[in-house]
Each structure stands twice: as structure tokens, then as C-alpha cells.
């Protein structure tokens, strides 16, 4: 039954299939609508992808370590609401570190449950998705949170400012991506993340403290979420309680598009960034072509499946699965 598409998909395609797909995809949309490659548009897409992107960086660590994080959307709402609320109460200089501390606290709690107590991450973060939402509603009393003085605050620099002609959200994204990318690829810690995700038992037998590695991955994820919350809050200077709702799945989709295996042990920051950009450009491209928003859903579906399929097909050298 398995059609023998025996010929090896070239080594380059095997490793860089997602990039090839990305380039083809960009060319396709540019031909459909010239505005698509307008530098302003591209900048705009990257800027609005920055929030999703920053979150995806952290989730990449979690996924490579062999776990999931479905609480990032809910946690991002929390960070946003908290920093906006504290902005007017204790001023931005204190509000930002306070918000980071609280968000990291949540990350530490999840990291403790998944790392040290060894609870299943899918269920823990599903539970936390709900619990943190409850926390956010309690904090805000269910109301929208807005900064009173929207014109005067320097706080808006994170979401609206420019540095060297580049929007600050993009700078933050790129900076964080570079930092975390190097940490993952080049440092002993990064190596341990791959080992823990690849085979937790063998990692433990090699003297790696699995619990600590997982714990730190969740801290990194929380740090990224806090940064995303900061950008979000600063960008709109006001927010609803549900601002991050549903983002967890988009983030996961981006990480998967980047080729990280949900079983853990594989994936890179660079590919995640590509995954994020693909999602951002799909959304933008379809809007430009004038398709309804729900067509995005269908297209994203097809692209995710195709991307992952081709990725593993290249690895196994066969298009069709060998499953009988």
C-alpha cells in the first residue's frame, strides 16, 4: 500500500524544508498581491508577530524538554493586566519588575509541578490555563484595565517606540531570539534540555538534574510570556482580561511548524522564528488577498500538516508513512 517514493529528498530539503516552504510561500503571496512585499507591510507583520514570537521562544524550550505549555496565553493576559494595573498604582519603574516577578512565580509553580513533582505537563498547564484566568479576573475584578495617562507615559516605548529605526517589539524579539537561540544551541544547559527531552531516564543516569532543567525551561517560558505581556500592554496601554486567550494554540502551531517534535528532544529557536513568521504572513497575506478570516483557519491547517509531513517524510526518506 505504501507508495514507494523511494528517491531521497535532498539533504538540504531534509533539514531546511521549512525554509524552502517559507520562501515559496512568500513568492506565491507576493504574486497575488504586490502590497504583500511592501516593506511597511513586512515590518508591520513582523511587529505584530513579535508578541506571538516572543512567547514561542519560551515554549520552544519547554517543548524540546519534552513537555507542553498550554498556559502561556492565559499567563500573558495575566502579565498584561497586572503591569497595566500596577503602572498607575506604583509607576512603571516598579510595575515592570513586579509583573516579571509575579509571572516568573507562576512559571516557577508550573515548573515545580512538572519538574519536581513529575506531573503531566499537558494536564498541569491545562489546569493552569483555567486557574490563571481566574487569577486575572480576580486581580482586575473582571474589568478592562487602562492606563490613565496614555500620552505622557514612557512605558509605551516597549510597544510603540523605535530604536535605530526599528520598532522596539521587533528589537526585543530579535534580541531574545538571539540570546535564547545561542543558549539552546551552544551552552551546556541547552544540551541538557535536548537530553532531558530525548530520554529523561538516560539524562538522569548521566547526572543531569532533570527536574531542575524542566523547572528552568518553564521559568524561561514565563520570562518570555512576561516580555510578551509587556509589549502587549505597552502597545495598547489598555487591555481586556482575555487578551491572550487562544494564543497558546497559535504559539504551539508556530513551534510545530518550526519542526520541533512534541515528543521532545528536537527543534531549534531559529526554526521556531520561521514558524512564527509563516503564521504571521499567512494571516496577513490572506487578509490582503481579501479572504475571510476563517479561510485562514483552513489554510493554516493545510500548511501545518504539509510542513510537518514533509519534514518527517524527508527524515525517513519516504513520502508515505510505513505504518501498515
Amino acid at each position: 500500500m505504501t507508495a514507494p517514493t523511494k528517491e531521497q529528498v535532498g539533504g538540504f530539503l531534509a533539514r531546511q524544508g521549512i525554509i524552502v516552504a517559507f520562501v515559496l510561500f512568500m513568492i506565491g503571496f507576493s504574486m497575488a498581491n504586490a502590497r504583500f512585499i511592501d516593506p511597511d507591510n513586512i515590518m508591520g507583520v513582523i511587529r505584530s508577530s513579535a508578541i506571538l514570537g516572543v512567547m514561542a521562544l519560551g515554549v520552544t524550550f519547554v517543548v524540546i524538554s519534552g513537555n507542553l505549555d498550554l498556559s502561556v496565553g492565559s499567563m500573558m493576559s495575566f502579565s498584561t493586566i497586572v503591569v497595566l494595573d500596577l503602572h498607575d498604582k506604583i509607576g512603571p519603574t516598579l510595575a515592570i519588575p513586579a509583573m516579571f516577578a509575579l509571572t516568573l512565580g507562576l512559571g516557577a509553580f508550573i515548573g515545580f509541578l512538572v519538574g519536581y513533582l513529575k506531573l503531566n505537563s499537558l494536564i498541569v498547564t491545562l489546569g493552569m490555563l483555567s486557574a490563571i484566568h481566574g487569577l486575572t479576573l480576580t486581580w482586575s475584578g473582571g474589568k478592562n484595565m487602562d492606563i490613565a495617562d496614555k500620552e505622557g507615559t514612557w512605558f509605551k516605548v516597549f510597544g510603540q517606540g523605535d530604536a535605530l529605526g526599528i520598532p522596539v517589539p521587533i528589537l526585543l524579539f530579535v534580541l531574545l531570539a538571539a540570546l535564547l537561540g545561542i543558549a539552546l544551541a551552544k551552552t551546556p544547559f541547552g544540551r541538557k534540555v535536548y537530553a532531558v527531552g530525548g530520554n529523561a531516564t538516560a539524562a538522569t543516569f548521566s547526572g543531569i538534574r532533570r527536574a531542575r532543567v524542566v523547572f528552568i525551561c518553564y521559568l524561561i517560558s514565563a520570562f518570555c510570556v512576561a516580555t510578551a505581556g509587556l509589549i502587549q500592554a505597552s502597545r495598547s496601554l489598555g487591555s481586556q482580561n482575555t487578551v491572550g486567550q487562544g494564543l497558546e494554540l497559535e504559539v504551539l502551531a508556530a513551534v510545530i511548524l518550526g519542526g520541533a517534535s512534541l515528543l521532545g528532544g528536537s527543534g531549534t529557536i531559529f526554526k521556531t522564528v520561521i514558524g512564527v513568521l509563516i503564521l504571521g504572513f499567512i494571516q496577513n497575506g490572506l487578509l490582503l488577498v481579501g479572504l475571510q478570516f476563517y479561510v485562514q483557519f483552513v489554510v493554516t491547517w493545510v500548511i501545518i500538516i504539509l510542513a510537518v509531513w514533509l519534514d518527517i517524510a524527508a527524515k525517513r526518506g519516504k513520502l508515505w508513512s510505513p505504518i501498515a
Partner: protein, 503 residues
């Protein structure tokens, strides 16, 4: 024999993986009622060849004949339908299911409407289990069985169908002697029914005991077939590794140093009780016993993977509490675990990274991993242990079983430990590498390491140890010196027959 039709015949089988020519034109045949040994070094291609036969891999070239009929097998199901039964090297069981369901996996007896015929299943299973003389029944959950019993379940599968050929890929790796006897009876029974048997093993004594002919593979190519009765270990070995093997004990004379590790009255739940021993620098201490005697559990305790319920561990005379492998490593203890795939390797990681994993924190250039130093370490141990791989970038999961084992050994040797514990170090390793590893163990001792070797193979234990601890059911029965030990005494001690002679 040649006037009869072979039960199974292979012709010019070629199979390549990316970067590896695993099989390069292999041909051989198995007669009905014959036990045909397939031998070769680690990575020679034995398992791959059998997977081709079993329908798991498709050959790139070549043909397979079952009887006189050419057979194309695109799935295990088809292979089974053609009468080829495959007992795998790695356990291949569903732990949550019952023994009966495992034995009849894929072919549960049916009633109408796709219902399972439990009554028939149970009756058939119990009939098979009776033949195997095992102490469990059809409804036992497989996960609750010992590894050896699980292996017996695996073997029981050979008896469920009208097989033309049965393939055993290293079936005895985790069996006790008593179970081996049962297995050999089973094989003899199959033989009597005219079934052709392919038997893969690295254990010469078994090969010479039960097989009729021996075929040898080297580096994926066929090196010839000999009649077992007309050959001896030495010439088979030579055929396998292409040179003569020096089997003499590497007797470098050296003085024993201080006591590196001492254990006093150590107990852990009901796994082992009141265990005391010491290892000196320069000494190889062997642990011998049946599977389940508690040797592995002691090693795991010393490596911080279990908390003892009583007793003391002294390192260089200092009372020490070891809470985790990380702590054990920091104290200079290394453990080569018994399960290479589960505990030894990250299969999806490359060979180099696997080898340097425990010391990745120390191999640093600034905040980064010093990859150059890693490659150097890998190269050093690849040469020393003769690891067959296209390069350090190969994923550990793509190596043959024996080469995987060597990576694990290299990983712990490169830590230069004070105390090196090796648990079944040569399980699944070919004779050439085996003696290489034995020499290495002796050499390490000579360099002043304290080495603990756990093994279920008597020749191995006798060959490498300076002293031997015999264990039975969680207790030390006796400790022998190399001079006083004999095979008989050892067997007596590990069968629990001499409880009064505690050393």
C-alpha cells in the same frame, strides 16, 4: 542435506541506510529441522537481515524463497502468514496486557462479530505455558513479570503458529541457566517438527551446543557457512573479525591500593539486605548471581538512584550519603547501566553528544560547550573501543546494539572515575569487542581505578575479576578470591545452597 529443499533461502540481499551499507549481497539458507547460527560482530548486519526476513524492512536488492516459492514480504503480517516467526532482540511486548493477549498478539482467536474468544485463548495459552514450564498463567499482566519471564512470553510466540522458520535474535541475553535449558528444549521440539531455525547469539558455548551450521557476516557481507561439528570457536572467531583473537588475560602486575569504596550493612527495602563489601584501587570486584539477585539495585544505590534503608557507604574511608547521580558523579563514581537504550543513551542525539553528556558542564569554553574538546574525546574512545559509525554526527539510535553499548562504556570511561561500576558490560557485544572490553577493564584497574563488574556470564566474571561476590536473593552468600574460585563453588553459592559460609 543439499538434495532437500531449504525451509528458507536468501539470495543476494542488499540493504542500505543513509550512509551505511548494512547488507551487501548476503545469501544463505536454512534447512527444515536445522538450527542455523548467524554470527558476526556488532553491526555486522544480523538484525537487519532478520528484519528483512521478517517483513519489517524491504531489501533494496535480492530475493527470498520460502520453500521453493519466491516471497515478497512487505509487512510482518505477511511474513507470519508465510510461516516466518520472529523473536526479537529487544523485548516487543505490550506490558498492560495479559500474557495470553501478548502471545497471541495480532491473532487473538475470534468468535463471531469480531469478539475475542477468551475461553479458547486461555486454554491455548495455558497449553503453551505448560510446555515452557513457567510459573505464571495466561491472565497475568505482562508488566508484572520479570524481564526473564517476559523473554519467555516472547519465546512462547514461536509456538503459536505452524511455523516453517523461526528466528531467535539473541534470545538468551537475559535468561537464567534454567530458563535456557527450557528454551533449548523448545528449540529441539521445533527442530523435531521440521521447522528451520535461525539462531543469533554472541555466546559461543550456546552456538556449539545447539546449532548445526554457522553462517558468518562481516561488515554486511557474507563470509561463509561452516558445519558446527567441523569447526571450533577460534576459527569462527577468525571468520567473524578477520584476525586471530588473543584470549589470554591481560595480566599487568600491580599493587592494590587503598580501599576506595566500602559498603557496610547496606539494605534497601526488600531488594537486598545487609550487604557489605569493599573495593580497593587497582582491584576488579565481580558480582555474580542470577537475574533478580539484587546486584543492579546495589549499583543503583551506589549511584544515587535509590535511597538505602540501612547501612553505610564509605568513599575513601569517609561516610558518604549519595542522593543523586549528579552527586555520585561528583564523587567520582560512574555507572554503565544495564539497559543501554532506556538508561544509557539519548537515541535521538548524536554519538558525540551522548558520549560527553555527563561532563558537558566541565567541557566549556566560556559559557559555551567546547565542541572541539568533545570531538577529541569521541575520537579517542571510538578508536579505543573500535566503535563502528560513519562519524560522530550519526544518531545513537542508528547504531547496532553492540556499538550502542560501546558508546555507553566510552561515555563513562571518559569520566576517569575513582569507582567504575559496569552492569552487564558486554550484553549483546561480539567476541572481539568483548575481549577488548575485558582487557580495558583490567587495564583500568591497573591504572588504579576501583572497578565493580556485574555480570550474569560466568566466563566473563571469572575472566576479569580479582575477587567475586556471589549473590543470591538480595544477600551476599560468599566472596571468593580469583585463586580459590571454581565454577562449581560459584554455582553453588548463587543457588543459595551454602547459606552458612558468609565471607
Amino acid at each position: 542435506m543439499s538434495d532437500r529443499t531449504p525451509a528458507l533461502r536468501l539470495e543476494g540481499i542488499v540493504k542500505t541506510f543513509p550512509g551505511v551499507r548494512a547488507l551487501d549481497g548476503v545469501s544463505f539458507d536454512v534447512m527444515p529441522g536445522e538450527v542455523h547460527a548467524l554470527m558476526g560482530e556488532n553491526g555486522a548486519g544480523k538484525s537487519t537481515l532478520m528484519k528483512v526476513l521478517g517483513g519489517i524492512y524491504q531489501p533494496d536488492e535480492g530475493r527470498i524463497f520460502v520453500g521453493e516459492v519466491p516471497a515478497v514480504m512487505t509487512s510482518p503480517l505477511e511474513a507470519k502468514a508465510k510461516g516466518i516467526v520472529f523473536i526479537h532482540q529487544e523485548l516487543s511486548l505490550a506490558e498492560e496486557l495479559s500474557v495470553a493477549e501478548n502471545i497471541y498478539l495480532g491473532e487473538l482467536p475470534r468468535k463471531r462479530f469480531g469478539l475475542v474468544d477468551w475461553a479458547r485463548l486461555e486454554q491455548q495459552t495455558n497449553a503453551i505455558l505448560a510446555k515452557l514450564r513457567v510459573g505464571f498463567d495466561a491472565k497475568t499482566r505482562v508488566g508484572d513479570l520479570s524481564i526473564a519471564n517476559q523473554q519467555m512470553v516472547e519465546i512462547a510466540r514461536a509456538l503459536t503458529v505452524e511455523a516453517k522458520a523461526v528466528i531467535f535474535d539473541e534470545p538468551t541475553a537475559s535468561l537464567t541457566d534454567a530458563e535456557k535449558v527450557v528454551l533449548f528444549d523448545v528449540i529441539a521440539g521445533l527442530q523435531a517438527q521440521g521447522v528451520g531455525i535461525i539462531y543469533i547469539s554472541h555466546r559461543m558455548e550456546e552456538i556449539f551446543k545447539i546449532t548445526d551450521r554457522i553462517s558468518v557476516l562481516r561488515d554486511g557481507s557474507y563470509r561463509g557457512t561452516v558445519k558446527t561439528a567441523e569447526t571450533d570457536e577460534e576459527s569462527v572467531t577468525q571468520l567473524m573479525i578477520g584476525r586471530k583473537l588473543d584470549l589470554s588475560r591481560n595480566e599487568i602486575h600491580h599493587a592494590l591500593g587503598d580501599v576506595a569504596l566500602e559498603v557496610r550493612g547496606l539494605s534497601c527495602a526488600d531488594l537486598y539486605t545487609d550487604v557489605s563489601f569493599e573495593v580497593r584501587r587497582g582491584e576488579v570486584l565481580g558480582f555474580y548471581g542470577l537475574v533478580g539477585a539484587g546486584r543492579t539495585e546495589i549499583a543503583e544505590t551506589l549511584f544515587g538512584l535509590r535511597d538505602p534503608s540501612a547501612g553505610q557507604i564509605l568513599l575513601d574511608g569517609r561516610d558518604t550519603v549519595i542522593r543523586s547521580p549528579a552527586a555520585a558523579i561528583a564523587l567520582g563514581i560512574s555507572l554503565v547501566p544495564e539497559d543501554r537504550k532506556g538508561q544509557g543513551l539519548v537515541l535521538g542525539m548524536n554519538c558525540r553528544d551522548n558520549m560527553t553528556l555527563p561532563q558537558v558542564d566541565d567541557l566549556r569554553a566560556g559559557p559555551f560547550v567546547a565542541e572541539g574538546a568533545e570531538v577529541a574525546i569521541f575520537d579517542q574512545y571510538r578508536d579505543r573501543l573500535d566503535i563502528r559509525t560513519p562519524g560522530w554526527k550519526q544518531l545513537a539510535g542508528n547504531l547496532s546494539g553492540g556499538n550502542q553499548q560501546k558508546i555507553v562504556i566510552g561515555k563513562w570511561l571518559s569520566m576517569h572515575p575513582n569507582v567504575l561500576i559496569v552492569d552487564e558490560p558486554t550484553r549483546g557485544i561480539d567476541v572481539g569487542s568483548k575481549s577488548e572490553i575485558h582487557n580495558l577493564i583490567r587495564e583500568l584497574a591497573a591504572q588504579g581505578y576501583a572497578v565493580i563488574v556485574i555480570s550474569s556470564e560466568m566466563p566473563e566474571i571469572l575472566h576479569v575479576s580479582d575477587r567475586i561476590v556471589a549473590m543470591y536473593s538480595g544477600r551476599i552468600m560468599r566472596t571468593f578470591t580469583a585463586e580459590e574460585v571454581t565454577e562449581d563453588k560459584l554455582i553453588q553459592a548463587i543457588s543459595g545452597l551454602t547459606p552458612e559460609n558468609v565471607a
